[in-house]
Structure formats: C-alpha cells, structure tokens
Amino acid sequence: MNFFLPKPIALMGLLAIVTGLLVMVRPESRPTDLTVWTFAPEHARMYRDRIDGRPSLVEQYELLTGKRVDVRLLSANALDVRLLSLIHSNGRDVPDLVEIEIGSIGKYFRAPMDRVGLLPLNGYLQQSGLLDQIVPWRLAPWTKNGVLFGVPHDVHPVSLVYRKDLFDEAGIDLASAKTWVEFHKMGLRFQRYWRDRGISRRWAMELPQSSADILRMMLQQRRIHPLGAGNSVHLDEAGVARTVLFYAQLVAGPGKIGEDASAGEVGFARDLARGELCSLLMPDWRVDYLREFAPELAGKMAMMPLPRFEANDAPTATWGGTMMGIVKNSADTKGAWELLRFLQFSPQALEVRRRTSDILPPLKGAWENSAYHRPDAYFGGQKIEELYVQLAGQIPPSYSSPYAVLASAHLSAVLNRTVREVEAGRTDGLEEKVRVWLSEAAGRLREQIRFGEFPS
C-alpha cells in the first residue's frame, strides 16, 4: 500500500508529537494548599521575595503553618475576567485569596448579596479585634449593604509635593498656601518669574486638562462624591459647579498653571526632574516611583498638605486602593483568613512593608512605629511619612460603584466643555451654564444606574 504524507503534514505531526511529549514530561507544579492572586507586582514582591537574605513572607508562613502557598501575579484585567468567570460559573478551581483594585470592585457587588462570590468578613474582623484597629472609613469601598467583603491593604492619603529648589529660587514659599486660591496666585507668580527669565515651559503643577482625576480629589476634599454610597448621584450638588469652574481656570485661559504629565505611569517623575511640572498630587504609592525614576531630585523636594477651598475641607484626599478578600468557594476559608491576616497585618508583614515601600498600612496602631516618624533625605530631611500619618486620619470617606466609570465620564465631559469655554474667554455666566450641564449629566447618570441595577 502506498502511503503518501506530504512534508508539511508530516512536519505538523512531528511538532504535535514533540510538544505533546514535552507537556507529558513537564514536572508537576508544586502542589499548594492556598493560592493568592494579585495584580500588583509590588505586592507580589512583598509577599514572595526575600529581603536581605531573610525568608520571604510566604516562606515564613509556610514554616509557621506547614501549609504551602502559591502567590500568582496576573494583569488586573485578566484577574478580573478570570475571577468573575469562576465566580459566575460556581467554579471550584478558585484562588483562596484575591486582591482587587478599588476601580474594579463595583462590578463584583452588582449581584444580589448572597451571590457576591466573596466571603463576608465582618465576623472574622470582629473576632480578631481588627475591626477596631483598621481606619473605619477605609472599609466603605469594600462594603455592600453593611457586609464587608474585603480588607483594605492601604489608606493612600494624598499630599502635594513640589520642587522646593525652583520655588525657593522664585522667592515663593509654597507651603504657606493654605487655600487653592492662594496656591493659584503663587503658581502664576512662579510661572511669571521663570518666563521673565526665558523659561516658558515651566508649569506650577501637574493638572490634566481632559481627565477628571484631580478634580475628583478636589471634590473629595470638599466631601462631595460624584457617586456616593448606594450609587447615589451627587454631580449636581452645590459646590460641584464652582469647583469644576475653578479647576478649568487652572488648566486653561490666562490663569493656567498646569498641564498634563508626559505619557506613561512614571512620566510625571521625568517632568518633575526636567523642571517642566513643578508640583503634583502625591499619594503614598507614587512616592516609590518618584524615588526610583527621579533620583536626581533628592534634597530638592518638599511635601505639604493639600490646600483647601474652605476651612472645613479636608487637607487631603485618597487616590487608588486595593483590598484582599476570600473567595467564597475556597476549599479552606479558615486557612485563607489566617493567611490574609499574616500577609496584611502580622508584625512580619508590616516590617516588610516598611522596608520596601512608602505605603501606609490601614492599621492606626502601626502608624506609631518610629519608621513613620523619621526624616527623609529625599525630601530634604522632612518627615514625610509623619505627614502622611497626619493626613491619613483626615481623609474623607470614599465609595465604590460599578457605575464609577460612567460617573467619571460624565464629569470629564462637563469639565471639557467648561475648559473650552474658558479657553475661548466666554466666562460670563459660565458657572450657571456649568450647573445646567452638571444637572443634565446627573439626570443621565441616574437613568443609566436605574436601568443597569440588578433587581434584588
């Protein structure tokens, strides 16, 4: 019998056999008792890397309990899609612990309470006494109808950092600016000083023109949340229009004192180093990037609380956040809780965090550690962690919602319209127009939420 096998088919067959054999002889991955999924490389390093030759947190836990732990790093989108698919399909092959970012948690809460897919932690936190130690307002984003589904990993207070050397040279004491209006005036004076000396591309602050990220923090300082607890819409609340208009005048027209940072997560650090953007909002997680990507600024930087609009406003806000939760289908929820406690709140974990990052833990008691009260050479000897500790106690609450992305789009749209008006010099009666636009946007957002909410 003649058997004709063309070369390409033979080659494909050979490849299939070889790869099949390779898969078969591949060593089995280490069996584990507990699996952790995280999206943040910094967190993964914190859990599984050795520091100064000492065992990593995971290794320490394994030694203590005899349980084997696997920490897996996934991209944030991949983690979300895979975890939601597993939860929706009632899958058993789920991680025991997961870290979820504050912008993503809302969609996990869309389902009715009993189908959320994460384990309620109120009881665990109460019994362990942690509930009294964690900053209470930081629990809100991870809570649905009073049930807590995650433990905060951070607090993320926001300060303002600036190029002290350049402001000093211009004869401006920026730290004395207690209000945003004073800050604005100083920013204009600063730019005038440098423009008179031929430097026209030096701006006082990083302020995006089209995104509402910093505007949202200014509103948060005023305790206004475009989307508050229980998906309540506050876009049309008194004070929003005035803040939007003020912000638009910071980024456009004759009063412009800021511009967008360069592209990329660390573009801001290069802008600061080049002296193009001379101050910016700085949550504690951003400090690590600053030190790493702008080391030449050591000794030239200073930090201050955020200026306010009114005396009652908070001198800070919060930017970003992560929780760690237990997946309901975990085969060992008790073990998962013990691991969660160890990775987040054990003395060993707090020590690793102090040594590897500037991120403040959410435990009030931990802030008393001397490490958070030391002078920092990068900031000219200023005790920046101490400032973060002071600010952390004053952060207004923040909330999570699946509709946050839509609220942000509505706010950005109004901001953009306002910026165009300011650019064109059409500022007469603009605040009233902004109020109308915000009211329309709030109406549309309410309609979207009403339509989108899952019937309970």
């Binding site: 869309r110 389902a111 009715p112 360069s262 592209a263 573009g267 992305v405 950005s412 339509f451 989108g452």
Partner: protein, 300 residues
C-alpha cells in the same frame, strides 16, 4: 461491518470525520457563544447564575442611550474618514512600488506591510510615545522647531482625538491595502495601457480609465474590509487614550460594549450592544454590496 457495506460507510463518513474537528470548534467557540449572547441580550445579568428576563428592555434603552449613540457617531466618523484616507494612500504606495524605476521594491513592500503585522496594541503604544504631550516626540519636534509654543493635545484634546486615531490607523493599515492593490495592479492587462497610450491618454487618463476599472473589485473589497474593521475598532483608541479618551472622543461601539460588560458588569446590555453592532455592520454590508453591484456579480 465488512466488505462493500463497510467501504460505503467509510466513504460517506470520512469527509465528515475530517470536518468534525473544525465543526466542533465552530460550534463550541462561535455558534454557541453567539446564540448565548443573543439570548443574554433579553436578560438583565450579573453572571450566568443571576439573570432576570427583561424582554426588549435592553434594546429599548439602547435606543435612548446617549452614550451608545455617541459611540456610534464616533465609530462611523472614524470609519468614514479612515476608509476615505486609507484607499488613496494605499493606492499611491502601490502605484509607486509598481513603477519600474523604483529600486528596492521588496524592501519597501516589506517595510510598508510590516506595520500591519505588529497589531493595534503595539501601534497604539508607539503612538502614545509619538503623540504624547510635552514628552511626545512629535510635540518635542514641533516645539524645538518653533512651529508651536505649547504642545498640541493630540491625546488629551477632544478636537484632536479623531485625527490621532486616523493617523495611527493609517500607519497600521495602509501597507495591508497596498499589498492587495499591488497584486491587483500587476494583474491589469498591459495591452490596455498600450492601447490607451496609442489613443493619446496621459498618465491621469490611464489611471482613471484603465487602472481604476482594472482594480475595481479589489478597491471594493478594501472598502468593505476597512469599513468592517473600522466599525469593530477597540484596542487602538483604548490603549492610545487609556480608555474612552478626552470627552469620550475615542469611545467606539465595541469599547462601550467592553465598558458595559466588563467594567459595569452588565453582560445582558453588553450583548444587546453587540447585536446592535452586528445589525449595523450587516445593514452597511448589504447596502454596500447592493450599491456597488457586487452582489449581482456574485449571483452571475
């Protein structure tokens, strides 16, 4: 089973057995998800275990959802501009590379086509670096050259968003169109050019009366493929703007579907958006095929 019966059975079944792997893959990964999404579009959903039948509510909300229509306008505008710019550009490149006096044709052909191979995400990352604000290469050059005093907000000013998307998409796709048109140009009967020259036709006349009619089917094909690709646009603006862009100027229908399904978590409404897009592409394709006569040619 033995003898003639067995042979007949094998003869009948063998083709189906060969088709079976592709058939199974088609059913599992295409037909079932399509059918499932069609069903899902009539439900309010927070996952397969949490579904409530809502009839046509998703579709009726779609009709009055401003964001959806904003996305449709953006998508159609992008598609129209992209196709209108891509064809002349690709044709120009193809004509240049088809010219007998051009050297290193293979090198240029490969270079122009290579942009298509890297994909939308990679191109978007490159263009973030090129078109960024103060740090962007284009703005740096413009400012250093004294052409502008302040950086142009290619990625942050809604007035520039569509232009940025067109530029990046043209860089990505022109080489693809060029390859098709080059092949078509090489298939045009050379005797027609000679006859036209004898009749006194100049370069423009030969292009309009010989070249374009000769490559017409490929041109129509590129319009159709470009339009369908444009209507499905997602990765390019999503990476370029890190989301829907300033004032949602980069919001496309597929991006709105993604936001609704994977950020808001409403898979039912996202499915309805998906089917609305299918209808949009279907209507466009049928109208296009009828208006260009391609459907009639196919029937003949």
């Amino acid at each position: 089973m033995s003898g003639i019966g067995g042979w007949k059975w094998r003869r009948h079944c063998t083709p189906y057995l060969f088709l079976a792997p592709a058939g199974v893959l088609f059913v599992v990964f295409l037909a079932y998800p399509l059918a499932r999404s069609a069903v899902l579009s009539f439900y309010k959903s927070a996952g397969p275990n949490n579904e409530v039948f809502v009839g046509l509510a998703n579709y009726s909300f779609l009709l009055r959802d401003r964001y959806f229509w904003w996305a449709v306008v953006n998508t159609v505008l992008f598609t129209a501009g992209f196709v209108a710019l891509e064809l002349p550009l690709a044709l120009g490149l193809a004509l240049l590379l088809n010219h007998r006096r051009v050297w290193l044709k293979n090198l240029f052909r490969t270079a122009f086509f290579s942009t298509y191979l890297v994909g939308q995400v990679f191109v978007a990352v490159i263009f973030v670096m090129l078109l960024g604000g103060r740090g962007g290469l284009v703005n740096r050059m413009l400012m250093e050259g004294g052409i502008v005093s302040e950086p142009i907000g290619f990625l942050t000013d809604p007035r520039w968003s569509m232009v940025s998307m067109w530029i990046a998409a043209l860089w990505l796709m022109s080489g693809y169109g060029m390859v098709y048109l080059l092949a078509a140009l090489q298939g045009v009967d050379q005797q027609l050019y000679e006859a036209a020259a004898v009749d006194g036709a100049n370069g423009w006349g030969r292009l309009v009366h010989v070249t374009l009619p000769g490559i017409r089917p490929v041109l129509w094909f590129l319009v159709l493929v470009g339009a369908i690709g444009g209507l499905q646009l997602f990765e390019l603006p999503y990476v370029l703007f890190g989301g829907s862009g300033p004032n949602s100027a980069g919001l496309t229908v597929v991006m709105y579907l993604f936001i609704t399904g994977f950020e808001v978590g409403d898979l039912g409404y996202a499915s309805a958006i998906g089917w609305a897009l299918v209808a949009l592409i279907g209507v466009f394709s049928v109208l296009y095929l009828r208006s260009t006569g391609l459907m009639r040619e196919e029937r003949r």
